[in-house]
């Protein structure tokens, strides 16, 4: 980029200020500089032709906004956090508000609980072996402006380490709160999860917006699954109405690993749920289920890539969308089967329920197969609530709002039934209904 527009100059200046105040190991300092360079070179992606990953999402508003830092000590409606999120007393929890770790809201696992959770703000200055080994290895930023942006700027987040063979009992909940603020701000949640060999973990990550104003959440999470490890993963996207959210999850799976992930996403001004899974060891499986709910003028773009690099792996990518108002949702799922990834077993399907005529979904499941001995399938569908089904319910005396609610819950159940934490399941059922204003008029 020869002539950087003012927005980019702001990012560059902000970076220099931050760098001056940081005392980080050389490798990290280098990494960040490189990332900033890539960000400035690439610029924000545009929804122009030929830019397939961003074909349906225009991040122009993000590129044009000058975001300040998050509010320093914003008021926190704790009750609302407790009500909205699955806030269980038995779970372990790390809470970040506006990108900063908040110990008084958190409850980290104690020593001996077979998992360590460290706020990144506490490890970045002294450095950490695992951090150096894994950070930015899976969320590569060379061709990805948002990953580059986050890598250059993140200052806090969570480092989660499960030692070899460890099986922590309690679910771990990472909570990233976007607080209310006077003006637009940006925060950069960052997560690195390292699962040792034969270990397992149940992790919930939540992104919750409290205000109605615009802000940008640029979140990057990297998950490393060592040989034989199993990760049960839940991801809740509940940003504010005017929020811009670009979330990127990168799962790297060694041999014989198991990933079971369930996503629940509510739309916002611009939402992006970007997931990549690298099946880089034979005998591994990745089950990705997702439910997205968009209303009003919300926009949510699910961009999911599953890469079968090694043979004998199984993947399932099953998403469902419920769309209302004039909202726009996208499902772009691509399953790659590399040459040599024989005996791949992959399926993906995206189904959508359109509650209004103005809602729009672009559903593009795709397979790219370069091996011959594989079993792969994909499908997409979109339709309105079945009138016959609705009438059947009405004919039993069930009111129209409850009838719709039951049908929508029924539609969503193939995703939500994958949730193995009962408290979370209950919460998601409620969030589903709460996310759809048309279901709130009666009852």
């Amino acid at each position: 980029m020869t002539q950087a527009p003012p927005v980019y100059e702001t990012y560059a200046r902000r970076f220099r200020e931050l760098e001056a105040g940081r005392s980080e190991p050389d490798w990290l300092r280098e990494l960040r500089r490189e990332a900033l360079g890539r960000f400035l070179d690439l610029g924000f992606p545009t929804a122009r032709r030929g830019n397939e990953p961003w074909k349906y999402t225009d991040v122009g508003p993000v590129a044009r906004t000058v975001f300040g830092p998050p509010p320093a000590r914003p008021p926190l409606p704790l009750e609302r956090l407790r009500r909205t999120l699955p806030w269980r007393p038995t779970w372990r929890r790390a809470v970040f508000v506006g990108g900063r770790y908040r110990p008084e809201l958190s409850h980290l696992p104690a020593a001996g609980e077979e998992v360590t959770v460290l706020p990144l703000s506490r490890v970045l200055s002294q450095g950490d072996d695992l951090l150096e080994r894994h950070l930015a290895r899976y969320a590569t930023y060379q061709d990805d402006a948002f990953a580059a942006l986050n890598t250059a700027f993140f200052s806090d987040g969570a480092l989660v380490v499960v030692p070899d063979g460890a099986e922590p009992e309690r679910p771990l909940h990472l909570v990233f709160v976007s607080p209310e603020s006077e003006g637009p701000y940006v925060h950069y949640p960052r997560v690195l999860v390292v699962l040792g060999r034969q270990s397992r973990l149940c992790l919930v990550e939540s992104y919750l917006g409290l205000g109605d104003g615009p802000y940008l959440t640029s979140a990057v999470r990297e998950f490393y699954l060592g040989e034989g490890a199993a990760l049960e993963h839940y991801h809740l996207l509940l940003e504010g109405e005017a929020a811009y959210h670009v979330g990127q999850a990168r799962f790297y799976q060694e041999r014989d690993t198991s990933l079971r992930s369930v996503f629940f996403g509510r739309g916002c001004a611009i939402g992006r749920n970007d997931v990549r899974v690298d099946l880089d060891g034979p005998g591994s499986e990745a089950y990705l289920h997702g439910l997205y709910v968009t209303t009003g003028r919300q926009h949510l773009d699910n961009y999911i890539n599953i890469d079968h690099i090694k043979p004998h792996c199984t993947s399932r990518l099953f998403y469902r969308g419920v769309l209302d108002g004039e909202s726009h949702a996208i499902f772009g799922g691509t399953v790659y089967v590399r040459p040599g990834a024989q005996k791949t077993d992959a399926e993906q399907e995206d189904k959508n329920l359109l509650l209004s005529r103005e809602a729009e979904v672009d559903s593009k499941p795709a397979l790219e197969i370069y091996a011959d001995d594989v079993k792969c399938g994909h499908g997409a569908a979109a339709g309105a609530v079945a009138e016959e089904a609705l009438f059947y319910m009405l004919s039993r005396g069930i009111g129209p709002v409850l009838a719709q609610t039951l049908l929508i819950k029924g539609f969503a159940s193939s995703v939500l039934d994958e949730v193995r934490l009962p408290a979370l399941r209950t919460q998601l059922d409620r969030l589903l209904v709460d996310s759809l204003p048309r279901l709130r008029t009666e009852e």
Binding site: E388, S395, I398, A403, S413
Partner: protein, 269 residues
């Protein structure tokens, strides 16, 4: 027109359903072409007719299926204008339609569905919501009466049910929700003799002095088990004959053709 006069006016009981000159159809195409019918509490009316004669249209219009348009005529249910009520209100007021083709509800568990329906009708009748235990007991009793396993409660409504199970399930709901007027659309079709008996028993259990049944059927077979008070023959959207039980036997022996011809001859006059 062949008409066997059965003097219903003599009946002093409350007319639960009155149809006068009902014309209805779909997309401007008239299917029902002037139907008159009066049903009193305590009565079972069989409506017979060949395929495509408008039997399902009739009961669906009464239940308020949105696809159908009413072009003319009036319908009163317990003295109230039925056609002005939304379908869910009709159901809460006591009109029940057993579907010819019960609808599958993907992802909706039978227990949850029955709970919602029962809560709705009970609330409307000013009854308290049943406690979970009482609800379970009641539902299981009704399932048992229709020869259905309690395992059905965990399944999705009508999904993967066999043809016979779907029909038994409809009658099970009839017994559970306990409406006033049952509209049964070919609940007998596709049933083997054992299932037919179970379904017939269910209907007979429902019958009573403060209930009414409109039993739509293609065959007279079920009428051996559910004895109707009146039999009507619907052809081309019109009731061309009404009579007692013996009319059904006559139809069984002679088929519908003689009535169709007689009706057409009558129309030409």
């Amino acid at each position: 027109m062949v008409r066997r006069e059965t003097d219903m006016a003599e009946n002093k009981r409350e007319p639960v359903l009155v149809l006068r000159g009902l014309r209805a159809g779909i997309g401007g195409v008239e299917i029902l072409r002037g139907v008159d019918l009066t049903v009193h509490l305590g009565e079972v009316h069989a409506i017979m007719g060949p395929n495509g004669s408008g039997k399902s249209t009739l009961v669906n219009v009464l239940a308020g299926k949105p696809d159908y348009e009413v072009y003319a005529g009036e319908v009163y249910y317990r003295g109230r204008d039925l056609l002005s009520m939304p379908p869910d209100e009709r159901a809460r007021e006591g009109v029940f339609l057993a579907f010819q083709y019960p609808v599958e509800l993907p992802g909706v568990r039978l227990r949850e569905f029955l709970r919602a329906a029962l809560d709705a009708v009970r609330e409307h009748r000013g009854l308290e919501k049943l406690a979970v235990r009482d609800f379970n007991r009641l539902v299981q009793e009704k399932l048992r009466e229709m020869g259905m396993d309690a395992e059905f409660l965990k399944r999705n409504v009508n999904e993967g049910f066999s043809g016979g199970e779907k029909k038994r399930h409809e009658i099970m709901q009839l017994l559970l929700l306990d409406p006033t007027l049952a509209l049964l659309d070919e609940t007998d079709s596709g049933l083997d003799i054992d299932a037919l008996k179970v379904v017939a028993q269910g209907i007979n259990r429902f019958r009573g002095p403060d209930k009414a049944v409109v039993l739509v059927t293609h065959y007279q077979r079920i009428l051996n088990y559910v004895q109707p008070d009146y039999v009507h023959v619907l052809i081309d959207g019109r009731i061309v004959a009404s009579g007692g039980r013996e009319l059904a036997q006559e139809l069984e022996a002679k088929g519908y053709e003689w009535l169709r011809q007689a009706a057409e001859a009558g129309r030409r006059d």
